[in-house]
Assembly symmetry: C2
Homo-oligomer: 476 residues x 2
């Protein structure tokens, strides 16, 4: 039997795609499934299939998939539900390797649709075709340079996103992308008639481009199987999950939406804890946490050092403590040595360290961060992306103020190297940083996440500690 | 005795300002306090004061405030703490009406600083000068077109922001501004040696440009007085508060930062409930909630109707229910009538209504929203900014698809008028909306807030219900 990688690679890395139900009418699914890959960089061959057209968007259109004079790795199906059994039979005859059933009107609309869905599954299984859907938006696969559904092409990156909701999943992908969280894959999984959440998880566990897996789920086809597999996968990669339907109002909505029985929130919470899944409280927070998990070393404990300006330190400390992280007071020697880099009016640098509206060089902030990472009772640091005084036209307090920009860049590279050097995570607030600040760019490109708010930093650190604990539990 | 408005207007609407301690050295406070108002549109007269310079940034500099040949409404003081008593005496002699003490090194550094602070207060009180600070970042006042501290000039708007933390407050203002929440004022209140949170509250209560007041606080000089006043102010305007120092780690930080005894979180929570202050759980969420409070009618109850796509409806329903809002099932007639505007494969429109990845005209979405607002068992609606099919190049399902853009714009105006017509709030997600979509612009300009996530919508609706309840409690 083929491995899960062999089974799913034709879907996520196809050399050729056929769009069955292609259309030349703007706005229709059959149009978008031709237009989107064509316009967003798919480099394989695209074959529209529609008996009524000879040409769609400048591409020759075929009457049937059987007429295409080439191998087809992936069939994208947008025909009405009733025609899908026939289409799937032709795909089997053609030797198509994988399919995505965009079409709706199956199990989600009732028993008749369910019977149709079962028939398509039977044909596909017998014929050796694995398929995504039905009732989906499509996929984005960085490895395949294939985008079927996202309006802004994501920055390729290490986060895979699997979503039971198509449109909302696409929207989340787009926001995540706008915030700079690179995606390796987006998969709208729909009714999971053939491929299920567990199988996508198994595939992504093996996917070299994926270093963290984010799920939006409403209910599971095989909850036990999913959690058993997740327990094994987290030895290799973190999994962050947001689950919809935690309240009775939400559960009613999941029932209408994906026919999912949302189940007890307490049971789900217990399973996540037991298995080591990291649970997000808000849908978008999954990506924030995944960003830290892919870029930072895992902490040995929950003890956090915090630097920031005034209220920023207060809010960070509150947010950390609320999540069960510790903010230990620094020893006296550390306090004294930190205060050398602060203005005389700064309060005692006990933790948090208050910058007290002073300006420091990039190197000074880097040295302070390094000092904290070196403490044996500190497991991770939350601070600002270090200021780049030269870039901002600022004059720092210290004698270094005359040094050129290149020194800030060098210091930024040093800062970026610290998490690896100490084996401890650093997460940052983009405190008053411009988008094109070279210091900020170097640091973020090195995998140190940069968030808008202190609360996001605290959640990221919390996720790192949760994942570290799950890994340790698993080893012990 | 002068009213609070008469006392504070010279600070927030000065016709002339003197910067005492002005500097021609970039990066220094005395430089920024001249440069920032000069470059960001202050239209009054600016007088630098510094005995060492004849000219600063092209403006004539004076040896002393007493040498300025003009009335001075507002003195901005950046001299070292030790020189402030002398400077304040000269301001009194000059007949200056208000002051902002930027300088640090007062009560926040210990008993010696406290003695100095007390002396400055005595001089100012005797001389009839009210002042902001010391130990502050400065202010932004839309009414005075005066910006002393924000790097991006805010869009003027109805939200006043009072912050006990200067740098962090400035950062929050800048993020709030980037998200489009217009600010009437930003006030960094520092040590509150003279003017206190209660007095700013009293002033803002009378300020015609301010329709909601946001506080970042760590502790109160006169908690009882503040809450008593707040109880009266909320009859006119909503107050949203974020309080730092809710955990022991945070409280330790507030003690170092603003010498505030953060006090018990439970006591603070109880006071907020009793008085009707709306408490934000995260600092930035204050602005999101204020945006809804200034633009939308208050709901009569907690019953919310939700429209959105698939998982979006699920997440919105969960978020609403978690906050104690209700998501009642629609009556049968309503379900049937909503379904006329949805594709056949859409699930039953029971609440939430699932758009099921279909496209509708702006007018169709407007009609659906109106239908929900008309239900006597619904107090508010959460939906998407209605799609503008023409703008997006989409072909809606309905026969309206051939109608021109102007019809979308007309429908948007209709949508924008609905909250007032029904006396019920509408809040929206910017679901896949471009920045320059005229439909989105019309709706947001009419005061209907547009957020990135369903959770933000739920919190906004929660804030509206909390404020409505506080107003009703107060009347009863």
């Amino acid at each position: 039997m083929k491995s899960i990688v062999e089974q799913l690679d034709p879907i996520f890395k196809p050399k050729s795609i056929a769009i069955i139900g292609a259309s030349d009418t703007e706005g229709k699914w059959g149009f978008r499934m031709v237009e989107t890959p064509l316009k967003t960089g798919y480099t394989g061959d695209i074959y529209p299939v529609n008996p009524k057209n000879n040409e769609i968007l400048g591409l020759r259109s075929y009457r049937s998939v059987l007429d295409i004079p080439d191998h087809i790795d992936l069939a994208i199906v947008t025909v009405p539900a009733g025609s899908t059994p026939q289409v799937m039979r032709e795909c089997v005859d053609k030797g198509v390797k994988g399919a995505i059933l965009i079409s709706a009107g199956f199990a989600e609309v009732g028993s008749e649709g369910k019977a149709l869905e079962d028939e398509v599954v039977r044909i596909a299984r017998t014929g050796g075709i694995r398929f995504v859907g039905p009732n989906v938006m499509g996929i984005w696969s960085a490895a395949g340079q294939l985008n079927l559904c996202l309006r802004q092409l994501p920055k390729p990156g290490p986060i895979a996103f699997v979503s039971q909701s198509g449109t909302f999943g696409g929207y989340l992908s787009e926001i995540a992308n706008a915030k700079g969280y690179g995606l390796s894959k987006f998969i709208s999984i729909g009714n999971q008639a053939d491929l299920t959440a567990s199988e996508y998880l198994a595939y992504l566990a093996e996917d070299e481009e994926t270093r963290a897996i984010v799920f939006y789920m409403e209910g599971f086809k095989d909850g036990r199987g999913f959690f058993d597999l997740a327990r094994r996968v987290i030895r290799k990669k973190p999994i962050v999950i947001y689950k919809g339907g935690n309240t009775s109002a939400g559960a009613r909505a999941t029932l209408s939406h994906t026919a999912s029985l949302a189940g007890s929130d307490a049971v789900f919470e217990g399973m996540c804890r037991q298995v080591g899944l990291i649970r997000a409280q808000e849908a978008l927070q999954s990506f924030e946490m995944a960003e830290a998990l892919v870029g930072q070393p895992l902490p040995q404990g929950r003890r956090v050092a915090i630097m920031g300006s005034g209220g920023q330190g207060v809010v960070t400390a509150d947010a950390c403590a609320s999540l069960g992280l510790e903010v230990p007071e620094f020893d006296r020697q550390t306090v004294t040595s930190l205060e050398l880099a602060l203005p005389p009016h700064a309060p005692p640098a006990r933790n948090p360290v208050d910058f007290a509206a002073s300006y420091r060089t990039t190197l000074e902030e880097t040295s302070m961060t390094e000092k904290l990472l070196g403490l044996d009772y500190i497991d991770g640091v939350i601070t600002n992306i270090p200021v780049n005084p030269t870039f901002w036209g600022l004059k720092p307090n210290s004698a270094d103020s005359s040094k050129p920009l290149s020194d800030s860049v060098e210091a930024a590279k040093l800062f970026a190297s610290l998490p690896k050097k100490y084996g401890k995570p650093v997460v940052c607030v983009r405190f008053r940083r411009a988008d094109n600040d070279p210091v900020a760019d170097i640091i973020r490109e090195a995998g140190i996440p940069a968030y808008d708010t202190p609360e996001q930093c605290a959640r990221a650190m919390w996720a790192l500690t949760k994942y570290a604990e799950a890994r340790r539990d698993d080893e012990s």
